[in-house]
């Protein structure tokens, strides 16, 4: 197609206008203020307040739930600022210097978002025999201790454009904490949805937050808690485990979303029950807060690699460290054991904060916690918190400098 049109409609003088372009810009610049540039913008300051590198926290109070083997740590900001606002259900990642190691642990926030505006934030930590960080915290932390923590993270919260207005929460043990926060948020008028919590405990004595939930239920009819006891039969409680039938019993007529949070064994049992309900995938959400502890049970895991110890070479900036790496534990754990400060947050493959590059060697990434970006899977980027060594490996780990 010929598009050779000549335009004669605009005068020749316009050519001069073009020639004067540079001059016009120079004049405009010359007429502008010469003062020093201020790079200080309110919205950037707001963003920084809401998403700081970390929150300096100080333990203000420790509440002992002795029967349940748990403690609630109530934090204030060490710098006197209000705690970062968050969405009920989110977790914070605590940075813990334990011995020669720098480890992180994600804990769901158990307090109301309203508390954050008043400067307070709480997490509840349950004993984990044989574990590392939880028991260290329960034994060692005292009022006045300072700890660094992140802002509220993750997307385990009620979102009205995504979830049904009726949420059925399936909780086990300390997995109750995000739902306590949600219940507070509903009571405080911050969230607006109906929350039915099916909470599994061994017996009545070890139930976490029974009084707190009773008080919330007295204040709002949008929250309902059903306690299920696995080892005790008692009036007013369900006996057994969280099953599909039990969910149906308390679901009522309205459509619902299911939120699951609890230890791995509980999660695996409950997930199979939920499957029987035939819900659309979008109506089932879960919070892992940790990679699998039995990687050899994962589909496609090469069994010959189980119980091996491989050599891990970690390159970080100009430094190189060689250490042992158990095939049964996430690579991040080996990095932390070696005393290397490495970034991490969710520890379940999801957030990508620990994203690192494998230079040589093979790794296994369980599909259920493979939160990597598509292109990272094509390259050799991994999330060490949810990746397991299958051979000697060398990886480049980004720094963690603040």
């Amino acid at each position: 197609m010929a598009l050779n049109v000549k335009v004669g409609l605009i005068g020749l003088l316009d050519m001069l206008k073009f020639a004067n372009l540079a001059k016009k810009r120079e004049q405009y610049i010359a007429a502008s203020p010469a003062e020093e540039i201020k790079a200080d913008y309110p919205i950037n300051n707001l963003a920084k307040a809401m998403h700081p590198d970390y929150q300096p926290l100080v333990i203000d109070e420790i509440i002992d739930h002795a029967a349940a083997g748990a403690k609630t740590f109530v934090f204030k900001r060490a710098d006197g600022q209000p705690a970062c606002y968050f969405r009920a259900g989110q977790y914070i990642s605590l940075k813990l210097p334990i011995g020669d190691s720098f480890v992180t642990r994600p804990y769901s926030i158990s307090s109301s978002p309203k508390w954050a505006l008043e400067g307070k934030l709480a997490v509840t930590i349950k004993t984990n025999p044989g574990g590392f960080a939880a028991d260290w915290m329960l034994e060692n932390l005292k009022v006045g201790d300072e700890i660094k923590g992140t802002e509220g993270l993750g997307s385990f919260y009620y979102e009205k454009h995504r979830d049904q207005k009726h949420v059925i929460a399936l909780a086990g043990g300390s997995g109750i904490t995000p739902f306590l926060s949600m219940a507070y948020a509903i009571r405080d008028g911050i969230e607006d949805f109906n929350l039915t919590i099916l909470f599994g405990s061994r017996n009545e004595e070890v139930i976490l937050f029974k009084d707190e939930f009773d008080a919330i239920m007295a204040q709002t009819d949008k929250v309902k808690v059903v306690h299920i006891l696995s080892e005790e039969e008692k009036d007013g409680y369900e006996k057994g485990f969280i099953t599909a039938d039990l969910i149906k019993k308390y679901a009522g007529e309205d459509p619902y979303s299911i939120f699951i949070c609890g230890p791995e064994a509980m999660y695996r049992f409950v997930a199979r029950e939920v499957e029987k309900l035939g819900l659309e995938r979008k109506y089932v959400r879960q919070e892992f807060l940790g990679a699998t502890k039995t990687v050899w049970k994962q589909p496609e895991y090469p069994q010959a690699c189980r119980d091996k110890v491989f050599k891990l070479t970690v390159k970080q900036g100009p430094n190189e460290t060689v250490c042992d790496c158990s095939s049964n534990e996430p690579i991040l754990v080996a990095i932390e054991r070696a005393g290397i400060k490495a970034p991490s947050r969710c520890r379940s493959g999801e957030c990508g904060w620990c994203r690192s590059r494998v230079i040589s060697g093979d790794v296994f990434v369980p599909a259920e916690t493979d939160g990597r970006r598509w292109a990272d899977k094509q390259c050799t980027e991994i999330h060490p918190c949810a990746s397991f060594a299958l051979s000697d490996i060398t990886i480049v780990v980004p720094g963690e400098y603040y």
């Binding site: 605009i10 316009d14 073009f18 010469a34 201020k38 950037n44 454009h161 995938r281």
Partner: protein, 520 residues
Amino acid sequence: MSNSKFDCVVIGAGLSGMSAAITVAQAGKKVLLLDQHNLPGGCASSFVRGRFEFDASLHEFCGLGKPGDWGLPGKIMMEDHGLDVNWLYIPELYRCVGTARSGRKFDTVLPTGEEELIEKMEELVPGSREPMKVFLSLAKECVEANDYFSANMSTVKKDGMLKTDSLYFMKNFSNFLKVAERPFNEVMRKIGMPEDAIDLLDVYWTYIGADYEKMSFVHQAWMVYMYTHYQPTINKENAHGLSMACVEKLRELGGELWLNTRALKVCADKEGNITGVLTDVGMVETNYVIANVNPEIAYNKLLDENVKVPVREFKRVNAEKHGIRFFNAYVACNKSVEELGIKDYTIFMPGSLDNAQNIKDSKSYEDNTHSVVVIYNVVNPDASPKGTCTMTFTICYTEDVWGDFTQREYVHKKQELFQKVMDNFEKDTGIIIHDCIEEIELASPWTFAHFLNTPEGTTYGYMVDDWDTMLSRLMAIRKDQPIKGFKTCGAAGARGDGYNMTYTNGWDMANIILEEMEGK
């Protein structure tokens, strides 16, 4: 740290920074690329929610071209840099649903291809065939003149401005000289374009946020022509895949990338010569720094006080107005585009096609529901798992209207706005999504201020204005930024915003640094 001397350090691994790093590395220099985040890309990034991956920004290239017929960005990326990426071409400009100033309601799809577009416009607005021919001819000349200009940017006049061969321009681009710097709508009227047709072509506003009664013809004409001729283009690997392709190329060339590493200071000796970059991991020695950073941040926060920033630079930066910023809703549906009845990749839903009204609304939270949605699966079936689709809704603001909200009301404000946007979308298109949203993330200028740390969370650098057009900036590209060994690049650079522009600007600034290295 030992042995950390580099020929050039690039601060910020946005597309522009990566382009600059690759360009310098290709010249055989030892390059270090730093980024404060744990992944490269800046805006050209993605994030994962559940089984979905979302592009953080609209990864659409304008004027990329095809093998054998590359536009400038395509030539740099594919021929010069040799990136390993695969391109998908979008067969339509856009679908647009809205009411023109005349009161006429439109719901139409504009095709790509010059002839197809001309015929479609004539069908929609009788009498626009001839003006459309003139318009596209003028636009083509603008593109050619711009390409010629871009290829001849090395000769500088005494006043610091680029030397343009006036005779060559007058001989070959005389129409360009006449119309280039006229306001877009004024030129359209002069060539007899019907007002309804002007409204339909001004729909790109959401991507630019400018006043078409003031903005230069060349900017919009360049964009419309490039989209029409070359088709809008996305890469199959998504935005993070594009960034990883850049990183792989840089590594192949021997360049280094340090992630999670902040540049704290660009250091200089007493005479103001650049000596290195102070980072989280210590001092890195270098005499040449390219910062993929807004000039305000660069001059205010990064540059050593020993470097005397000329008064004209302060004036230049103070003269600039921040560009537009966005609200984005990233939505994944558990139904396919076929099930939902979606056929179009880009749907503009401005409500009103009145540019002046839209600009007014863009300064307000309440009034601004002028949105555009892109639905990736229409062009890239692999954008999300089978039986699902992902889409991004965008609203642009010309001023900071999000900075006054409190933390407590913030989430609610985002949700409330998305509700309006979704209601309009469902009403305008008949496509129902509210009951099949599996994942959703809402981002505002707060979010972008957090991740990008740009002034006010802007993503588009500086506003193109009538005194500050792409061409007038390019003419001054060697006069602006006079500090030897220190340049900034990115969306606030000479070419303005957009993936294609920032990538090209990184290449521009790297070439200038390379010349400085050679003592020119």
